[in-house]
Symmetry: C2
Subunit: 327 residues, 2 copies
């Protein structure tokens, strides 16, 4: 079994399906801005997770497509708005929505996608009570994401964040949508209570290891070039697990360097470089890597109660992929 | 029957009810920003319309409270985001959300309210299929509002807008939420198809006369002072019905003044004053007033098929209020 080909097979089916929610329309600025990110690529991990979760309880993955679309559209909405809030100019190597279409259109396009996401749910062929439950779960998920994003912004203004606070933040900001993907897929597939619960837990751990590995990759892939993004993250005081660990454990000279440079918008390139070296020497990068691997193990453990299936194997591979990928 | 006391009675009940969706919470910035506009006042016209529509088909208005809350929260969300897009600093005489809490928090607070609005719907005690229909209608309403807002922004960049285009824009941006208020109230109240349809039409006409009267008030209440807002609207090229009518019918010197001043961000105070005088002399202000009154008549006409009730009388008064109010 090859994860990439399994992913591609389902992403192709999904990409064909969700186009119906992303047609051109008028006013053109609104529709074009709303289509920009969804049609600009992406791995479709969330719909993939929905499908696999459904398959792992021996349900029909095709039935999940509207739900996968709702989540992927909701994900696009959060990206469009997050990029404005975080002043990010690039997304998946293309200009962010607000860079290409201006901020008003980007705000509005996000709102439009938000509504479209709920609209996609109406194409689900499920019992009305299940529709209602999934609708409620999606709402709670977005409230979580909003809280996570605000925490993320708040953290930039604070000196010390505990690891627990950091995990709580990414649980909301990143893992919440993963959780709902797995939960919804299992419910639509007719999974029993234990299966739904196990798959939901799996996805939470997967989301956490994914996000922490992302932080690790951002740093390690920039090791030689020390790219602009890392410099910005250090100057903005962005609280990744690596930063959280360093800030909590630094003493003496290390503490002094962090105090001077981390979160200092006018820090020099040399200062940024010293923080980066410090991250390595304090073992913070290794610590993040280790933590991601622990969540990966927990993710796979929760799958044990599921009956054996190809989907179960793919879910295990997906967990491993979350801590093996290099981009 | 006194409209203001009928309005106050229902607004008081509503204000007490919807507090449950607007509690304090953490992260505080997000919750405070989300509570800012809803708790900052407002006439509660939309919940009022929901209740009256329900009462006019002899339903129990208390049952509509979650739906009224959903619409009023959705209305708050649109105000929070619109003020960012339109660069408006004040709303109901208090600072706009983005002025008080910063733009990132205002974007996020809007998103949060959006989700809360859908959450409120879950407190409705209605059949699941009716829940699903109202949920779908709310989604379509927001898509309409987004399109209306984009059209409004697009119109500022265009020289000539037809009256039809203008009416289409405010039908989406303003009247859509009025329509849904009346439709939802009638459905929750158990109205028959004809009643639901008549009340929906009533609310569309009401929304149109309301918006046009707003444009008229903005101009006429500024007649003596020629306040900053009117100056801004003229300099931004804001397409009210008054402007649309003037731009379509101006010839000779009038056309020349409009070409020079209207939509010219650096127009002089004297230029603005000349445009204002031109609006009056061309009869554009009277035309807008007349149009609002026509919609008012249509609104009242659609009520004829309803059985007589106190609610029906209040709805008639509300229509008249839309073209009598002075602020």
């Amino acid at each position: 079994m090859n994860l990439q080909s399994e992913l591609k097979k389902r992403a192709d089916a999904f990409n064909k399906y969700w186009l119906k929610y992303l047609q051109e329309g008028k006013p053109a600025t609104l529709y074009d801005a709303a289509r920009h990110l969804p049609l600009g690529g992406g791995k479709r991990l969330r719909p993939f997770l929905v499908m696999l979760s459904c398959e792992s309880v021996f349900g029909d993955a095709e039935k999940t497509l509207p739900f996968g679309a709702a989540l992927e559209i909701m994900h696009s909405f959060t990206l469009a708005h997050d990029d404005i809030m975080d002043k990010s100019n690039l997304r998946r190597n293309v200009p962010a929505v607000h860079i290409k279409f201006g901020e008003p259109a980007a705000i509005l396009a996000g709102d439009f996608l938000f509504a479209r996401s709920f609209e996609a749910m109406h194409d689900l062929s499920v019992d009305c009570q299940i529709f209602k439950q999934l609708n409620y779960d999606l709402i709670q998920c977005i409230l979580d994401i909003c809280e996570g994003q605000q925490l993320d912004m708040d953290f930039e203004q604070r000196k010390i964040i505990t690891e627990e606070e950091y995990i709580d933040m990414i649980t909301r900001k990143t893992a919440a949508l993963f959780r709902l993907a797995a939960k919804g897929g299992a419910i639509i597939g007719g999974g029993n209570k234990n299966e739904v619960s196990a798959l939901t837990d799996y996805a939470r751990y997967l989301g956490l290891s994914f996000q922490i590995w992302d932080d690790y990759l951002d740093i390690s892939s920039n090791e030689e070039t020390l790219g602009k993004d890392i410099g910005n993250d250090i100057r903005n005081g962005k609280k990744t697990l690596i930063a959280v660990y360093s800030l909590q454990n630094a003493t003496g000279e290390n503490k002094q360097i962090l105090d001077e440079v981390f979160g200092n918008s006018s820090a020099s390139d040399d200062g940024v470089k010293r923080v980066f070296t410090l991250f390595k020497e304090m073992g913070s990068i290794d610590y993040a890597k280790k933590t991601a691997i622990e969540y990966n193990k927990k993710a796979k453990d929760t799958l044990k109660i599921l009956k054996d299936s190809e989907a179960k194997e793919i879910l295990k591979e997906l967990a491993d992929y979350s801590i093996k990928r290099e981009k």
